[in-house]
């Protein structure tokens, strides 16, 4: 990776954000709604990328962090009647706490064991949601009632069910997280993470505390995923156990692999691409899981660096 001039990288990212902002005014209704959802899910992918792309830890259980945010925010609105900002923070706090606990346990393992342990913890989380169906709604899930999704600041009120408000809220979250990840990967801590990915023993020998660096990355990753989940619950008004299932642990992996692991913008590109492929394909066939499966195999076989990873390797070495 060649040394990047910070201005170039920040300009590119601000350009992407500006483009998304502009798209809000030109997109037809259907794609407008879809893109809002994609931006929230891209935040999920960015959180996943923090751990998978930069630290090289392949987790098969990130759905639990997304679901922690989803249920943390959704249930505190539904059952406790909390206001939206408070509920959003509650979702994020749930994800941060969960990722701390899971990190302390799962990071004792490496490689294949780490994947299986994270998958099992996610399964426990999923089954727990089903077990407490009285509060979580189990399989059916719960709908966050529309009146609860209005944000009031004194005289002005923001209705999160309004498409434009929803789009802009999603964009705001996306932009903040994008800039945070950019700052993290350019920081000293981010470089240590990449060093751990490349050679953990050597990094340890150089005097870095690899465990606490990995734990920090895990918490950042889990918290970002929880923020995505919390936003999803509040913006789209639905919490359901399917978001905690194995499939939602695999999807961010697919998005990141497609867009390019360890690239800041890859998560967005992968999510947009895959979401549209599935959306278009489901117009013709209900067998969209087939496409997910084939995409996963083709990616690892022929295209392991993903879209942006390949572009960076061939042409744009400075891409963060």
């Amino acid at each position: 990776m060649s040394e990047a001039s910070p201005a170039k990288a920040y300009a590119l990212h601000l350009g992407v954000i500006a483009l998304l902002f502009a798209l809000s005014f030109v997109l037809p209704d259907y794609h407008h709604g879809l893109l809002a959802r994609i931006m929230v899910l891209a935040v999920f992918a960015m959180g996943y990328n923090m751990l998978f792309g930069y630290v090289g830890l392949l987790s098969l259980g990130h759905a639990m962090f997304f679901a922690a945010g989803l249920y943390g925010a959704g249930l505190s609105v539904i059952h406790l009647g909390w206001s939206l900002p408070l509920a959003f923070l509650a979702g994020i706090a749930c994800g941060a706490l969960l990722s701390l606990v899971i990190g302390l346990l799962a990071l004792r393992t490496t490689g294949v064991a780490f994947m299986i342990v994270t998958m099992m913890f996610a399964q426990v989380f999923y089954l727990t949601i089903l077990y407490f169906a009285a509060w979580t709604g189990g399989d059916q899930g719960l709908v966050v009632p529309q009146p609860a999704r209005v944000l009031t600041f004194g005289a002005t009120s923001l209705d999160l069910t309004n498409p434009t408000v929803r789009y802009m809220s999603a964009l705001a979250l996306f932009s903040v997280v994008l800039l945070i990840t950019l700052a993290i990967v350019r920081s000293r801590h981010g470089r240590v993470l990449v060093a751990i990915r490349e050679n953990e023993e050597r990094t340890k020998m150089l005097g870095y505390d690899t465990f606490s660096n990995k734990l920090a990355a895990m918490i950042v990753s889990g918290t970002i995923c929880a923020a995505s989940g919390a936003a999803y619950a509040l913006l789209f008004g639905y919490v359901g156990s399917s978001f905690a299932s194995v499939q939602y642990s695999i999807l961010p992996l697919l998005w990141v692999l497609l867009g390019g692991a360890a690239t800041t913008l890859g998560a967005l590109i992968g999510t947009v691409f895959m979401y549209y492929v599935i959306d278009i394909a489901s117009g013709y066939t209900s067998a969209y899981l087939l496409i997910v499966g084939i995409a996963l195999i083709l990616l690892v076989l022929f295209f392991p660096k993903g879209i942006l990873g390949t572009i960076r390797q061939r042409w744009l070495g400075w891409l963060p």
Partner: protein, 293 residues
Amino acid sequence: MHFGPHLLLAALEGLVTSAVLALTALGLSLVFGVMRVVNVAHGEFFMLGAPLAWAISTAIPGHPTVGFLTALVIAPLIVGAIALVAERLVLRRLNYNPEATIVATIGMLYIIQQLALSFYGPEARPVEPPFSYRILLPWFGYSGYKLSIIAASGLLLVATWLVLTRTKIGLIMRATQYDSETAQAFGIPVDRVYAGVFALGAMLAAIAAVLIVPISQAHYLMGQDPLLLSFIVVIIGGLGSLRGTVVAAVLIGLSDGIISVFFSPTLAKIIATLLVAMVLVFRPQGLFGTAPR
């Protein structure tokens, strides 16, 4: 029913689960032991056995025994062939890299599941058992077929053990497991051993599914629970240890049977999964395994 007979019934049900689980987990364990590949699609190879058994047994007219026995031979062979193709086309090209193969087998999981849904459909369909003799115990009658599952599984496990420990094929497999590079240097076709082991693992799972299908029904999602349970068994038993796998399968099957009779099955699964995750965190070599070299 009183507590004693109730417990006996739960234990018998648990033993049937154990028998099927031991076969499935043995397949997973062999593939992991020899190839160091975590096969996430293993549950789908298990599942494939069931719709194939249904298709074969309904296609063959006459007494159900004929259809069932044909299915018991043909279905695993078909599944083995599918696994062989998957291994040649995908896993070998990835050089058996642990992380890439996990992603690839996740892909296979989705493909197989979706194809089963498209061609077989969402219905659960029964397969008639080869015989319907009931053994009368003093407290309740018990299906003779279920007892024969336990016997069949036991026979297959002993056969696998004999092959692994007493034959040249077994020696080659163990040599590959112990050190594939040295094995290769001694002229063992490691590449072909890998292909064979992957197919064998899938076939063991398919046999287990054919055995269970007369008492459970064939459904395209039936591979999910066995996958998780097999992981649990293989981890508890110690990755790649045959004896550990069998002991753990009996332990998990029995406790699963007994706990599900007396408590909520979801709670039983939560506790079991959590305990196993903890085993993996604090004792990664498994309860019966030896520390890795």
